[in-house]
Structure formats: C-alpha cells, structure tokens
Symmetry: C2
Subunit: 429 residues, 2 copies
C-alpha cells in the first residue's frame, strides 16, 4: 500500500518543530519521503493537501474504550454512587460481544477525531485487540488486574490468562500488550508483584491509575503506610516502562521519585474535572523535572467523549487558570504532550509522534476551510485553542488509510452506530 | 416564509423541560404550531427530523465579534503585554470595512455552531448591525463608551453618535441597540451617568465588563473607594436592564446587590481561564440567589472560538472541579444558561430561548448520527458533555433559515473566509 500527499502544509513535530509545505510519500507502513520539491511516483492513494493541514496522529494515553457504551449513563453524580449504582452493575454484564461493539464505537469516534494510537485498560482485552487490529488502529492494550477479579476472570484465572494474552499479542504490528494493575487501592502487594513479573519477563509496558483522588491517596496510606507513588516504588513498579494515569494528588518529592524511575504520566484533565477530583496534576513541575507527560481522555463514561483536541484545550486552560498565569503551558507544549509525549509514554518515540522520513506513517489531516481557523496567524495555537475533532478529515495508521475525507474505509459507519445503540440499551435493560 | 420540520425530536426548554417527537410549523417569524400529530401544510422549506435533534438557538451573552480577525494573534501572553503589544495597536487600525469583514467571519462561525443571538460590545457597531441584519442573525449591539474615546469616536463624539446609533436601530426586528460603558476602570462616573441617561431615555439594555480581574477590582477600589459592583450601584447602573460580563471576583454581599437590582450576569468561563484571571464566577451562589445567568464566549481573541457548546462543557466542568463537587451545575442547569438564561439577559424570555407555540422561531438542529451521541441515554447530558458546534446542521433565526444541512443561505462561505484572511493579514502588516 502506498499513499502520496501532494503540496501539504505539514506540522512536523520534528526536533526543530518545523512547519513547511511539502509532498509526503508513504510506502508500506513508513514515511518514505518528504520533499519540498514535487514527488512524482505511482501511489494507491493520491491526496491533495490543498486547504489541509497534515500532522502526526494524536496519542491518547489513557482510556477504557468499551465504556463508550456507558456514555451519559449517570452524569452529575457523586463518584461512589456513580460507580456502585451505574457503572459496576453494567460492567458486570459485559461479555466479548458487547466489548467488541463498544470498542468499534470508540474506534469510530477516535479515528474521526484524530487519534491514531491509544493506551487502554479494561477486561476482555482480547476482544478489544481483535477489533482494533481489524480496523487498523494502534492499541496498547492494558490487561487489567484487580484483587477481586474482573468481570472476565476470577483472581486465580488472571495470571494464566494474562500470560496467554501477552503471548498472543506480543509480536503484532498494531497491538502491544500492556500489564495494567488497576490501582494501588484495588491491587495489593501480591498483585502488584505478580503483574510486574509478567511485565519484566516479557519486557512490556505497564499502566496503572495512580493518585487520582484524595480518598485513594488517603486509603492507600492508611492501609499500607505509604502513599500510592511510594507503594509503587517499594514494589519496583516505578520504572521506565510504567505509565501512571492521573497523578493529580502527588507531591514534589513524588515527582522526584517518578523522574528517578523514569515513569511516564498520562494527564486526563477533562475526566478529572468532570469527576471533580479537585486535584491538579502538577504539569509545570513535571515539565521542570523533565518527566514525560502524555494526554488522555479517560473513558467516555467520565468525559464524555474521546476528542483529544478538546482535551488539549482543557489542559492548556485549566493550568493557566489554576496558576493565574496565561503563559504556562503554551500551545506548543500541550500539542507536544499529545504527539511526542504520547510516543515517549509507550516507548515509541523513534517510530511515531512526528512526521519524519523513516518513521511509521501515523498521520492525520485537518480541513482548514473552517471559520475557526481564520486567520491562520498561528497554526499551533489553532490546534490547541480552536481545532475540533470534527476538523479531522483523513486518518492514516501504520501507512493504511482508515478515513479519507470523512469516509471510513475499515468500519461501516451506520452499522457501528446502530449496533452500539442497541447493545447499550440491552445492557441497561 | 414558512418552514415545516417533520417528526423531529425536540428539546423544548419549556417550563416543564419537555422532550418529545413532533412536527413544527414555522410561519413568518413565529413557531405557529407544534404537534405530535402530523402537520400537513404547504411550506417554503420542508425539513426532515430523522436522526436530528431540534433545540432553541443558543444565546451568546458576551462577545466582540470583529475580534475574530485577531484570533490567534498573540496567545499565551500576559494580559498587559497582549493588550498593549498586540490587541490595541491592531484595533486602532480598524475601520468600518474591516469591522464588516470580521463580523461576517464571526456570523459564519456562530451560525455554524448553533448561536442565533449574541450580545456584542465594540466600536463601529453600525457596521456590525448592518452585516448582522443582512445575514439575518439576532444582535444586541453594545455601543462602547470609554473615557479615552474609541478607535471610532473621540470622547466628545460618543454621546451624539450613540444617540444616532440608538435611533437608527431601535425599532428593528433583529437588532437591538445596547449601551455599553466598557468598565468601571475605563469609564469614570461622568461616562457611567451619561451612558445610563441614554439607556433610560430609550428604555434599552446596558452591558459592561465587571470584576473580571483582581487588578481591575483593586484599581477601581483605589481610585473611587468602591469596588466595581458598588461603583455601578452608586451611579444607578445596577438595574434590571444591565448585563454584567464576567463577575469573577465578586463577593456574597455583591451578589445580594446584583439580585436587588435584578441585573444579569454573563459568565465567560473559557475566556476567564485562557486569560488566567484566577477568579471563579460564583455560579452556584448566583443560582441560590436567583440571579439570572447567561453564558458567553467573549471575543475570539481570548477564547479562541465562538462555540457555545464548548463553553457549556467548560462551564459545567470548571465549577465541579473548583468546588470538588460533581453534582453542582448539572447539564440541564448549564443548558438553561445558554437558552432560557440568555433570553432573560436580554429581556426576551417571552420571545426566544425555548421552543413553544407563539414564540419567535430561533431554532437549531443537530445531526445525531455521530459516534459521540451514541448511546442516546441522556440528550441533555450529551448537549453539554459531548456535543460540538460542528454537530449543528441547520440554523433558523426569526423564522428564516440561515443554514440548512450545512449550506449557508445568506453568506458565501468561501468568500467570507478568504476576505477575512486577507483583511487580517493586512491589519497586522
């Protein structure tokens, strides 16, 4: 498969953060050539760059894709009631089929809003992997560990099935298995250690919820005598293959520990605000300490959408407001989080997150013919402060087009919506 | 002109907040009939409600429409530098022609994202009125007073020209003149009194920036011995025809004064956060005190877009996060702000803000065939937490269609974008 994009304005996100107009030739899964001169070559797809902006696909570093089926099912509620009365009862009814359907809906939403890679944490991750691979998205799929077991497996079944899961997906192009102990408040030391063993044995990434709410921090401290970050440190999980979701209630000392371990942070401002965790991920301090930061939407049940452009605007604005400083988190920094930062979170900074020759072709295109892009003084500013997911017209993952000018190539739009709507109503009935 | 909308799911925003499927017949400027039975009548436009959602047009209670031309021209800057180095030098170059062009761009953006009415504050408001009327939007146009004069008029010219402006626009259908002293830090007592006189004489609304930043509150207190709200109260401007923009730094006592005067509040969360004012409009307390609250985007230079759906999400989330309470500002309350609340801000609650027989037909339609609307458990929740301006497909103002299924009827899309882009670059050159 080959794709030629002609005369495109490119936001490269290369080291110099260059922007220029060029032709891009994609051959197989790679960006084979970028040239300011015209590239003349045969290609399966030839796309015009006129009135378009080409950028690296966005990387969503924390979500629970099947939760699209629970979108809007219980908003404006206290966290405990929301989980106990709404989320958990439905989750207990999930099976491979409903997970597949919810995943498809999420893929449709992510592709159409510019996300090309995502880190997930859920159960029935095999089903999520199958759908993701078939549709052609890039998924880092977190097999969830919880002391109480998951709706898919009892606690005893988790280890052997996780082993199987990892073996199955380890050498795939698009899917990478991830080990995901749910959190230090839901996973005791034994679970943390066992999950770490599998990760080390297979040299793969881990993903965990960490210091999202004050209650969590308080409970972990009370139960184990350590706050979540230190609990992870004690058991060796604060390492360079760990992606910590949230970290809204961490201290300056904990930032130093995170940096020492070279763990990564997934910041989820929209979800944190909607759930009203009250905490603020200390992003300026994380930057100062050179900790890698990525952005995530969290699941659709607590956001309620998967639009990474929206998440970028929330990220930039919430910290400006909180610190009384309009200068912190400038647009370029926030855009870096969702591209370069995301690629570092999953250890793929040499492969995705920027548009450079030799890198994998995870690329999106925006339609600039929209009033909110005019005037085009500062495109990076526009990407964070005015772009909507709906501006994305084309999405290419691993060199394959998933959407071209709004048409989906690997998903049936109408069927996906209808199937998901029916499945969701069946689940709550 | 007549319009028939068939089998539409309607969010009425009537007193009972009913939602149901019905036909809607619009005759001239009015909603002539809403019926759960099929309406059979000839109409100039017949629109299918299939997969659509019909709701009242949104009311943007604070903006500066021509500032679309300054979108992205200086972001991530300290307020003072931003104003002195970027905004004011360009504003001094504005003339009727550039104002017209910027207004057209804003109309295109507002129509396409669901706004049908807006309150403005700027200079060259005659030009804004002409464009708005020609395009068919509903504008409450604030003629700005500033002690130093505006780029259009010297201080001495303001009163006579404001008189002319009011006479010119007073009895129009779509345009209502508004008197807009810029703020208590830019307008001394004399200016406040003179502007009030014109408002009283003509029985029209007033609009002012009030208690947006701490610096403003501090400076007004130091200069006049009173905080902005009390300064307005002293000179009689805290009355029932006053719309106060921002009020991010007000006290509980000031809320009582606002309520006593029955003044209205325009809350602009996105702009406040982007400029990093640090303050939080005390929306929960305003609700408790039964003060009317509307939502605004502010100008595109400090937002940077005019999407009221985005503003609703920011409104709901910023207060949840700030108060550590996911229950405050539920979706229905926030949606009320941008419809009913907005209509009360401009004294038109008997005419716009809801879909009811006899009311003026300011109506928008959303396309529900989008992954972020699935499943459709709670449409009000979706309106605040997942809807994007881009979901708006049809916009009707005063019974006239301005956009039908994405096609603009009173504006040329391509020309408007091109003209605005050229004009903006000329201004900064």
């Amino acid at each position: 498969m080959s794709i030629l994009i002609k005369k495109a304005k490119i936001i490269t996100q290369n080291k110099k953060r260059e922007q220029y107009q060029a032709d891009i030739f994609i051959d197989s899964d790679r960006i084979a050539e970028i040239s300011k001169n015209s590239i003349s070559v045969e290609a399966d797809y030839k796309l015009s760059g006129k009135d378009k902006l080409v950028l690296p696909g966005l990387i969503n570093t924390h979500t629970h894709v099947p939760m699209t089926l629970l979108r809007g099912y219980g908003d404006d509620m206290v966290l405990k009631n929301w989980l106990e009365e709404r989320i958990w009862p439905i989750e207990s009814k999930f099976n491979s089929k409903s997970i597949e359907i919810g995943t498809k809906l999420a893929m449709l939403e992510m592709i159409s809003t510019g996300t090309t890679s995502y880190i997930d944490m859920y159960f029935f991750e095999d089903a999520i992997g199958e759908v993701t691979q078939k549709i052609g998205m890039r998924g880092f799929l977190g097999f969830a560990f919880i002391d109480n077991g998951t709706p898919e497996y009892s606690y005893e079944e988790l280890i052997p099935n996780c082993d199987k899961f990892v073996r199955r997906w380890k050498n795939k192009d698009l899917i990478k298995p991830v080990i995901a102990p749910h959190g230090t408040y839901t996973c005791g030391p034994e679970t943390l250690q066992k999950s770490l063993e599998i990760a080390i044995k297979n040299d793969i990434f881990m993903h965990i919820h960490c210091s999202e709410t004050r209650e969590e921090v308080y409970n972990v401290q009370r139960q184990y005598g350590l706050r979540p970050i230190n609990q992870l440190k004690k058991y060796g999980l604060l390492n360079d293959k760990m992606v910590l979701a949230h970290c809204s209630w961490i201290t300056k000392n904990e930032i130093l520990d995170i940096k020492k371990g070279n763990s990564k942070i997934s910041h989820n401002p929209v979800s944190n605000m909607k759930i009203a965790t009250g905490g603020y991920t200390p992003v300026p301090e994380l930057i100062d300490s050179k900790v890698t930061v990525g952005l995530g939407t969290d699941g659709a049940a607590s956001n309620n959408c998967l639009d990474m452009f929206e998440t970028m605007k929330f990220c930039a604005l919430i910290h400006k407001q909180h610190r009384w400083d309009p200068v912190i988190l400038p647009a370029q920094t926030v855009f870096d989080f969702s591209t370069i930062g995301g690629s570092k979170c999953v250890g793929m900074e040499n492969y995705i997150g920027s548009i450079e020759e030799g890198k994998i072709a995870d690329i999106i295109m925006l339609d600039l013919k929209n009033p909110h892009f005019i005037p085009k003084f500062n495109l990076i500013s526009h990407l964070v402060y005015t772009t909507k997911g709906s501006d994305v017209c084309t999405s290419i993952v691993n060199g394959k087009p998933l959407m071209i000018n709004g048409e989906f190539l690997t998903l049936n739009y109408d069927d996906t919506l209808e199937e998901a709507e029916n499945c969701a109503y069946e689940l709550i009935s």
